[in-house]
Symmetry: D2
Subunit: 140 residues, 4 copies
């Protein structure tokens, strides 16, 4: 079991008029962590891969402390807690060392844009995702 | 008990490369519905009002069907399910008539930007929020 | 000659940490005005229409006064200053009555996403665009 | 004379429904390059520094070729072409090696958020900016 580590760059405009990174923008950061895991690292190509489409079915996110723009990236740890025939659940911590800004989880459904419908997770994808599997983790 | 109705305008750029309104953007729509409720309609002014600051403590959102850009706004119904001394929970449906695109809920904590700390909900605010209270609603 | 009037809704998150609508967001507003003109009002359908693709070749924008979020839309007046075989130039004012926040112009090239190349403006489109033509206007 | 080099990370959601990085997002990239130059590298602190506020007075941008999301950053070269008592003009190229995606220029006015008015460029800032000065460059 390993966690996927993504060093997520902030943008100055991620802050809102209250001077903090806007709560919605955290979901954008989580998307970037998933893109790195599912588009850059995961196996497969074209329609039968994650780059051929995927749909978010659900998000949960708890905000623990405010984040302010700085020039250094923030760390996003991502791991997998559930793999079914046609969906996967990932959990994340947005953090600097022990200081956690947010904990979240997302249910993702692989989706074929060509066929316009959900598709099953392939054996190759399952094997890949299992490297990040940590079912016992207490979740957001 | 009444639901707050917000007609949320879409922007063409809300769609992502998959040709649907991006999942993160739905949270932006929910923010707009809350802004309309808490900044335009709610009582109070300045530091001791919602416009003086508020923090999102938690979101949950379930995506039920894809939304594509069109020139007409989408409807967001918002109601309140819980009011504590220092927080409120709102629930939403993003919909066209009976067709629901997403159901969501948010825990909001009033926050004084001047004092840099959470503040209590005022009696006036509580009375306002209770007009939208519907505890019995089955939630997202 | 008529100007196209678009009442552009603001979003709270359009403001940045300096408390004003961010300069980049003004370009998003201009896009919305163009979308209304070119996707909702302009003739044609599918690949041989503006909805089948268009590319921005150039923007110029002058910022004249700061804009702060409010619940009412801001007005964007758009008109056409130049139509060539394969491009059009539109100019805009972002304003409330006589108070102008920004003046801008954009060169747009119709582009067929199917053929992956620029296409010519159709006679029907030209006739439509000429309703908004005002070559003599002093430009941004 | 040196150009400021900023390696700008893309986000997947920077692409629009046409499958390219949206034209408005390029201005966001330019903002990030300026933030790196003016907030991270430039001298001064607090109100009398660029972090104490700055206003964009004008943008010009020419789009030369489409940019598609990838995991590697794109390069933004930035230099200064004009420094007046109370403004500066910067020019940029967004590029991969010799392949230029966009050329642009921005007029920036230092602005004191505390005093709510433009301020003069300090001698220290001028000296800093002159390191990036290249008046002879043919501009966008």
């Amino acid at each position: 079991m390993a966690r996927h580590i993504f060093r997520c760059p902030l943008r100055w405009a991620d802050m809102d008029a209250f001077g903090h990174v806007n709560n919605v923008t955290f979901l954008r950061y989580l998307e970037e962590a998933r893109i790195d895991l599912m588009f850059r690292l995961a196996p497969g190509e074209g329609e039968a891969s994650f780059t051929g489409g995927s749909v978010v079915a659900r998000h949960e996110i708890d905000y623990l402390r405010p984040l302010v723009h700085r020039h250094e990236p923030v760390t996003i740890e991502t791991w997998v807690t559930d793999i079914t025939a046609a969906s996967m659940t990932v959990k994340y911590e947005v953090k600097d060392g022990d200081a956690v800004y947010a904990r979240a989880s997302t249910v993702v459904v692989p989706y074929s844009l060509v066929n316009q419908r959900p598709r099953r997770i392939t054996a190759e994808e399952k094997e890949f995702l299992e490297r990040y599997l940590d079912e016992g983790t207490v979740a957001a």
